[in-house]
């Protein structure tokens, strides 16, 4: 058999389209920069900048995208697993983020305190408790989906609407501010690098290692493709689905802490608002089927940063934040369309026709 051409190998790569989408968004930036007469590579420029305090931080559009995209990237990890195992989505992640943030801040500030400068409990306790609450939310969702057989959308709808309200309850209907330098670190900077980038990188790395070193990835995909057959082959399909929801809750908790630390407060009504949609979109942009089964974690991560890149680009282009969603929608339609099965099939047919001609 002859070796496939370089081009064919590249286009056959599972991440080809997600990467192209991301590059396209970057290209728009470059074209814009050229058009306005700025340095064509200013998009990629990373500089050191003094902060109002005395710190030095990395600055640049790329850094901004990586930083701002962290929460969605973290959520996308869990969402990918949930989609794969259960062919459904966890729409509660945004609300769970908010709940975890509220719980964490409530513990740190003390119940009923709206602004605290000294911590009511050790920082680590607050953070871990917040994340743990995320895990518990995930277990709740997982129980409903895996053991009660409730449609994922309906099951997670419960926490989608309830979690934010519970968060408000925990915070006594206040926006709780934790004005303590140490809490802000998770949304701030670790040396010159934004901490959320580091946290996202750690989450991605750990999950990648888990998928590589254990059979979890194979189990999840197997259950997602054919749950009944997986059970006969010895997998506990329910437990695996439960586990994916639990992991999704874990990552929602982590993302919640990051989001809360960014604003050093628990703004229950706004933290993680609509993030579930971005997380689901990230999974889809990554070339993953929302019908479950095979998944590609790297694709989802790229998808998450693509979404942030679009947002950042639109602001760079001077689109107002009220109009941005319209343009974002247009770009998303384009990206989803180039990954749509009919177009892929068309490309394949064209390739085959070429081959046949070449053979004749």
């Amino acid at each position: 058999m002859k070796k496939d051409s370089f081009w064919k190998r590249v286009t056959g790569w599972s991440l080809f389209l997600p990467v192209v989408s991301l590059l396209l968004v970057m290209a728009v930036n470059i074209i814009h920069d050229i058009a306005v007469g700025a340095n064509p590579l200013s998009f990629f420029m990373i500089t050191l900048r003094q902060t109002t305090g005395n710190g030095t931080i990395l600055y640049g559009r790329i850094i901004d995208i990586l930083n701002r995209g962290s929460e969605v990237a973290i959520l996308a990890i869990g969402m990918t697993l949930v989609v794969s195992s259960s062919a459904g989505t966890d729409i509660s992640v945004g609300s769970v983020m908010s709940l975890c943030a509220s719980f964490c801040c409530m513990l740190l500030a003390g119940y009923g305190v709206s602004s605290a400068t000294t911590l009511a409990c050790p920082l680590i306790v607050g953070i871990l408790a917040g994340i743990l609450l995320g895990v518990i939310c995930g277990m709740f969702n997982g129980t409903l989906v895996a053991y009660f057989g409730i449609q994922p959308m309906v099951a997670t709808l419960i926490l989608y609407s309830a979690a934010r309200a519970i968060g408000l309850l925990l915070c006594n209907d206040l926006i709780v501010y934790v004005r303590n330098g140490t809490f802000g670190i998770f949304g701030g900077f670790l040396g010159v690098i934004p901490t959320p980038v580091v946290i996202a990188a750690i989450c991605i790395l750990v999950m990648t290692l888990v998928l590589k070193k254990t059979a979890l990835g194979m189990y999840i995909q197997s259950v997602g493709i054919n749950g009944r057959a997986s059970r006969i082959a010895g997998l506990n399909s329910k437990r695996i689905i439960f586990l994916t929801y639990m992991l999704c809750g874990l990552f929602a908790g982590i993302a919640g802490i990051v989001a809360s630390s960014r604003i050093t407060s628990a703004d229950s009504n706004n933290i993680g608002l609509y993030f579930e949609m971005d997380a689901i979109l990230a999974v889809a942009l990554g070339g993953n089927s929302l019908g479950g089964g095979k998944f590609n974690l790297a694709g989802s991560i790229i998808g998450a940063y693509t979404i942030q890149a679009i947002t950042t680009t639109l602001y760079a282009l001077g689109v107002s934040s009220t109009q941005a969603p319209v343009f974002k929608a247009v770009i998303v339609i384009l990206i989803v369309a180039i990954q749509a099965p009919p177009l892929k099939a068309y490309m394949k047919r064209r390739n085959m026709a070429k081959q046949v001609k070449g053979a004749a």
């Binding site: 059979a215 194979m218 010895g234």
Partner: protein, 506 residues
């Protein structure tokens, strides 16, 4: 076009990536004949049918249909239906929760002048259609109330009423029992007499000889030949399909099966049951023994096996494995006790379609080892390679998705999956359904070989002949109940008698 010919295909060529699925294949169907399309798995039968019905886009060749000038190119099954080509598959593609009449007219309901569905008229017309075809049903009843055979006949009736000239029946008899098959044949014959050309795809050789007038044989995507039925006796047909002379399927000799009734017990079930599907039964299986389960479809054969394996959790009774009483809640428990089960529904409970051949083979072994004990990639590849070789799976490579393999090869993958776990007790539920003769005899040989190695096998099959060839003993099932066992004088006649009831059972 020749006189009396209703469909011709000339020089059909179709490639899938890397494989020539069909190469320059000709096919001719005459009016009022039942034409068997034969070949091993992967010979190109399904591909050819999909070309005729517009599912596959063939690259070269022409299809002509009687009454239509110029070549016909179908792009969908709807196109095909419009030129008079209808297909009925093994799995009935109708709506079980609609009435028979609704199913007959779905998508083309007769309307009243107020543009509402004319229920009365289509119920009447439906009853007339069914009566004419001699199918005894009440058309106002939901389809799900009828047996699979009737459902299939409804599908056929629908096709016929849509003025089909060519009726394609793809493995229609795979899930039918003998009596139902006979009913279907009666219907096929009466359609033939009305001038419909029928293409019949089946793996059952005896059925070909029971109804067909002509046989076209394919092998490796190429046409072997077209023969009137009288010119192609069974042995020659098998030879044509396999491309070699196969003496007889009965080359596995019963004499080679030794007496194992003194061997220690491997499995011993006492009063095991699953509410609603199988009544309490006792069953002993010795080491190195092959026990067959005979009975009609739906008699509880699979359910008995599922209760032992934990696929359906037993609701009463006890099970001992190797002399020790055990509790099995989930299949994994059974696997840890050294069991394996190849389920009868390959698609729904066997293959993981989107995973590769390698992953499908190591899946059960990996499940046994646990999530945190991943087999290294090198080890996985080694195991996959060994079993691909051992059971002779025809696949481009290990990374091919299992759904891209032909049915028989998928079955072998699942067999490989279980062999890889090195089970002491293997349940094989219809391992040879829908697969070709060559593979069948390979699987039968494998069963005898495994038993020879001291493994115990529970073998379920609708083909009594193949169980006779391999089993030491047979359990007889009737209406969800184990009604007896046969351990001597295993002959087709005795087993039949036992299944039917009356003499022969203990």
């Amino acid at each position: 076009m020749e006189e009396n010919v209703v469909l011709t295909a000339r020089g059909i060529t179709m490639t899938f990536p890397g494989v020539k699925a069909l190469e320059n294949v000709d096919f001719t169907l005459r009016k009022g004949e039942i034409h068997a399309l034969m070949g091993e798995n992967g010979a190109g039968k399904s591909t050819l049918i999909k070309c005729l019905t517009g599912i596959n886009d063939f690259e070269a060749g022409e299809i002509h249909v009687d009454g239509i000038s110029g070549p016909v190119k179908n792009h969908s099954t709807k196109d095909a239906q419009e030129v008079g080509i209808s297909t009925v598959y093994q799995e009935v593609n109708l709506c079980p929760n609609l009435s028979v009449a609704e199913n007959l007219f779905i998508g083309r309901e007769p309307m009243t002048k107020f543009h509402t569905v004319d229920r009365r008229s289509y119920n009447k017309r439906s009853q007339k259609i069914m009566d004419e075809l001699g199918i005894a049903v009440d058309v106002t009843q939901n389809l799900e109330n009828y047996s699979l055979a009737i459902q299939q006949m409804v599908a056929i009736a629908r096709a016929v009423d849509m003025d089909c000239k060519v009726l394609i029946l793809d493995e229609p008899t795979s899930s039918l029992d003998d009596e139902e098959v006979e009913k279907l044949f009666t219907l096929m014959r009466s359609l033939r007499d009305k001038g419909v050309g029928i293409i019949f795809v089946t793996h059952f050789l005896e059925q070909v000889y029971a109804v067909c007038d002509r046989i076209t044989v394919l092998r490796d995507g190429q046409l072997v030949g077209e023969y009137p039925i009288a010119d192609l006796p069974r042995v020659k047909l098998v030879a044509a399909m396999m491309g070699k002379n196969l003496d007889d399927l009965a080359e596995i000799q019963k004499e080679s099966i030794e007496d194992v009734s003194r061997n220690p017990l491997e499995i011993s079930a006492k009063g095991l049951s699953h509410t609603g599907t199988i009544k309490p039964f006792d069953l002993d299986i010795h080491k190195g023994e092959v026990v067959g389960i005979a009975g009609l479809l739906g008699s509880g054969r699979s359910e008995l096996a599922r209760a032992i394996y934990g696929a359906d959790r037993a609701s009463s009774g006890t099970l001992s494995v190797g002399g020790k009483e055990v509790k099995i809640k989930e299949p994994i428990d059974a696997m840890n006790l050294g069991m394996g089960m190849l389920p009868d529904d390959r698609k729904a409970e066997g293959i993981i379609g989107d995973l590769s051949v390698r992953e499908n083979i190591i899946l059960a072994l990996q499940a046994k080892r646990g999530m945190f004990n991943l087999l290294s990639r090198a080890k996985q590849e080694e195991i996959a390679a060994r079993y691909i070789d051992l059971v002779q799976i025809k696949t481009a490579d290990q990374e091919t998705l299992v759904k891209q393999l032909s049915g028989g090869n998928q079955q072998k993958v699942i067999l490989a999956r279980w062999l890889a776990t090195d089970p002491d007790f293997l349940i094989l539920d219809e391992p040879t359904r829908g697969i070709d003769v060559g593979t069948k005899s390979e699987i039968q040989k494998m069963i005898v070989k495994l038993a020879g190695e001291g493994k115990s096998i529970l073998f379920i099959s609708s083909e009594i002949a193949e169980m006779l060839r391999t089993c030491n003993r047979m359990a007889i099932m009737r209406d969800g109940e184990k009604v007896g066992e046969l351990d001597h004088d295993l002959t087709q006649e005795n087993v039949m008698k036992a299944i039917a009831g009356g003499e022969g059972t203990k």
